[in-house]
């Protein structure tokens, strides 16, 4: 203070007032740029340094062979197993030629070749209906939802199964991604409303409704899905009169829907329990009846809270569709495994290729659902963030 405020007489000639601010100096080199980032995130402590070096070594050990297998040594084209054979010590990675040859089956199963446009059209309709629903800004949500829940299933059934002039394609011929999506979408669409009803039922004060809901939920939660499917496919036909058969895929759909509804019910019930009693009382004080208060006050809040749980159920349901394999239906994984038995494509790396491809397919769908749910959570954020 003293130096500037009251300079000595001999210093008076050197005094000046700076007209501009000193420009801020760049931060020290060790905190900016790639080096700074690395310093801060990778080498900030001895433990971090050790972890970084170990991870780098691990990646160096794993990634090059993986890339070799997946890309550089992989076989991309070929007519049959000869292409993927490790003849004369040649390194052979993934046999993508096999995936290419079986790609139609992985998408459609054994759906007749000349009818596959029907599956494409159904998929197109589904995407055309779903995308506007998924994008918040697009209008006509209500109309679109009603269409998707009424007209689309009917159209999809007629297109996929047949009728109205289209030749019937039995569900035994369906397979691959088609079956995976049919089972998963039906399960997802049916399980959410059923689950909500069951959750409300379980919290109901009406004894019969409550008991029925509890018994239903506890029964389906208590048996493994594989048992449900197995019962439906092996035991059921024995109890039906000879000649009365109902469709295997339908049996699987009903089993999966009921099974996932029970899980969904418990997820939703978790959300209902998180809503403070005051909300129920406030809704009642507004003069809202039971269904109105549920629809307008309770459920919108409860469902928002349990989005992670709901999507968790959806994802696990999506992956559980592979279990239909045990009743002789072929989802993506099933048709891939079935095609391992084609002797014309029998080569050492074919099974590994098939499983890797199945993993990629499942990952894309599950990751997509996961990302979308996170987006919805952020969008619906209204002060519950902690």
């Amino acid at each position: 203070m003293t130096d500037v405020a009251s300079p000595g007489p001999d210093a008076r000639s050197a005094i000046y007032v700076r007209g501009t601010f000193v420009p801020p100096s760049p931060p020290p080199g060790s905190t900016v740029g790639p080096f700074g980032w690395a310093h801060k995130n990778l080498f900030s402590s001895p433990f971090n340094i050790a972890a970084t070096i170990l991870t780098a070594l691990f990646l160096a050990w794993v990634v090059p062979p993986l890339l070799d297998w997946l890309i550089f040594d992989a076989v991309w084209t070929g007519e049959n197993r000869e292409a993927c054979l490790p003849v004369d010590g040649r390194e052979v990675g993934a046999c993508w030629a096999w995936v290419q040859a079986k790609f139609g089956q992985i998408l459609y199963g054994r759906y007749p070749l000349d009818q596959r446009w029907r599956v494409d059209l159904t998929a197109l309709l589904f995407v055309a209906g779903l995308v506007p629903l998924a994008i918040p800004k697009v209008p006509y949500k209500r109309e679109n939802t009603i269409l998707m829940l009424t007209a689309f299933p009917v159209a999809a059934f007629i297109l996929l199964y047949g009728g109205f002039g289209l030749p019937v394609v039995e569900t035994a011929l369906w397979g691959g991604l088609l079956v995976t999506l049919v089972v998963a979408v039906t399960g997802i669409v049916a399980s959410l409303p059923l689950g909500i009803l069951l959750a409300l039922g379980r919290r109901s004060k009406l004894p019969i409704v409550k008991t029925v809901s509890v018994i239903f939920i506890e029964f389906w939660r208590g048996v493994p899905l594989i048992t449900v499917l197995f019962m439906a496919s092996v035991m059921l036909p024995l109890f039906l009169p000879s000649g009365v058969n109902f469709d295997k895929l339908l049996r699987a759909l009903i089993g999966v829907a009921l099974f996932s509804a029970a899980y969904m019910a418990e997820t939703v019930r978790g959300g209902l329990q998180a809503i403070p009693k005051g909300q129920y009382e406030a809704a009642a004080a507004m003069g809202l009846g039971y269904w109105q208060s549920m629809r307008l006050v309770i459920l919108p809040q409860a469902l928002k809270i349990v989005i992670p749980g709901i999507v968790n159920s959806f994802i696990s349901l999506f992956k559980d569709t592979s279990l239909v394999l045990i009743i002789g239906l072929f989802d993506v994984l099933g048709i891939i495994q079935l095609n391992f038995s084609d002797a014309n494509w029998s080569a050492p790396t074919v099974p590994a290729t098939g499983f890797v491809f199945a993993a990629i397919v499942f990952w894309i769908f599950c990751f997509g659902m996961s990302r979308y749910s996170q987006y919805m959570e952020r969008r619906l954020e209204t002060g519950h963030r902690r």
Binding site: R110, L238, G328, L338, N339, S341, A343, A347, P348
Partner: protein
């Protein structure tokens, strides 16, 4: 374990209900009414026996039986629908009437024939446990495997048969046991064992998956009996006869030199009375089956004779290259034998 319990329960229920289901009306009439044969096949697929080709159509040695039956009944081998069945479902599917024929590499055993309400109609493939070894070992017979380490899947009859056979032959061996077949395959391929044992048809398909198939040889000894064949419901003799004779027609055709290519020519031109009876130009043996006189012609036109079907699906015409072995005709050293058409 879960499977096994279910299997027991399912089979128990099946036994109770089997008799009820078996009393259904004539299968042939039902099949004709619906216009196709419903055939149960292996849902897991089995190389050479039942597998989808690149177009997604089923093909294989077991599939040919289904097509042969369809050809015999309708004169059209495409009038068949396939129901993929797992090992646990297969017999209940037959008992419950979901399928008309089961052609799913099932071993004909007494208990299955007598207790499940089903009846086996023949043997299309005589399988049995065999050995595969590295060529570099220089062994030509399983009896040379004294002291060898042998990869085997645990908990199967295969493991028991292996021990019994070596004991009976007074040989030493070191079993290297694996829970899963894939593990055993990989271990054998990586050289953990000198030899590998499972059913012979399985050995050939595993050999295809090895890094260097040509360095391995399937040894000639077969140490167990696994006769595989189609089966039908009990209580409908006519239908059982049709399935039985569809296979016999294929075997007889091979024996008589009737092939897919020359069947029409043989039908009109052959002077051999056995050929004439088989192909329906002499006598009317089809009628006694409830079929048309040219039933066997249709079968052979559709899938060829037994030898042709064998070679095309599992033999030299396929990647598997299974030797005929026991499945050679009786007249050529095997045991495939069909009663005469007379």
């Amino acid at each position: 374990m879960v499977y096994r319990k279910w299997k027991t329960a399912a089979l128990g229920a099946a036994m109770i209900l089997g008799t009820a289901a078996a009393s259904s009306a004539a299968t042939l009439d039902e099949v004709k009414a619906k216009g196709f044969v419903q055939c149960g096949v292996n849902a897991a697929g089995l190389q050479g026996f039942a597998a989808p080709n690149d177009k997604g159509e089923w093909s294989g040695f077991d599939i040919d039986i289904c097509r042969a039956v369809a050809a015999a009944v309708f004169g059209d081998a495409t009038k068949v629908k396939f129901t993929p069945l797992t090992a646990k479902e297969r017999f209940t599917a037959l008992q419950s009437g979901e399928i008309d024929v089961l052609s799913r590499n099932s071993t004909w055993t007494m208990s299955r024939d007598t207790q499940l309400g089903i009846v086996f109609t023949g043997v299309n493939y005589y399988d049995g446990q065999g050995f595969m070894a590295k060529k570099s070992l220089g062994v030509s017979s399983a009896k040379d495997l004294n002291g060898a380490s042998i990869c085997v899947q645990s908990g199967t009859t295969t493991e028991l048969n292996l021990a019994d056979w070596f004991r009976a032959n007074n040989l030493q061996f070191n079993p290297v046991v694996f829970e899963k077949q894939e593990e055993a395959d990989a271990a054998y391929d990586s050289g953990r064992c000198d030899a590998y044992t499972t059913d012979a048809s399985g050995l050939y398909s595993i050999r295809l998956k090895l890094a260097n198939p040509d360095e391995h040889v399937v040894l000639p000894e077969i140490i167990s009996k696994e006769p595989l064949g189609p089966s039908v419901r009990q209580g409908d003799d006519q239908w059982a006869l049709i399935v039985k004779w569809a296979l016999f027609a294929m075997v007889n055709a091979e024996e008589l030199g009737v092939t897919q290519a020359n069947v029409e020519e043989q039908k009109t031109g052959s002077a051999n009375p056995e050929v004439k009876r088989l192909l329906g130009t002499d006598g009317d043996f089809g009628k006694s089956l409830g079929l048309t006189p040219d039933w066997a012609v249709n079968v052979i036109k559709a899938v060829g004779n037994y030898g042709e079907s064998f070679e095309r699906n599992v033999g030299q015409g396929s990647p598997l290259k299974i030797a005929r072995g026991l499945n050679e005709l009786w007249s050529k050293g095997g045991i495939q034998y069909a009663p005469p058409v007379r």
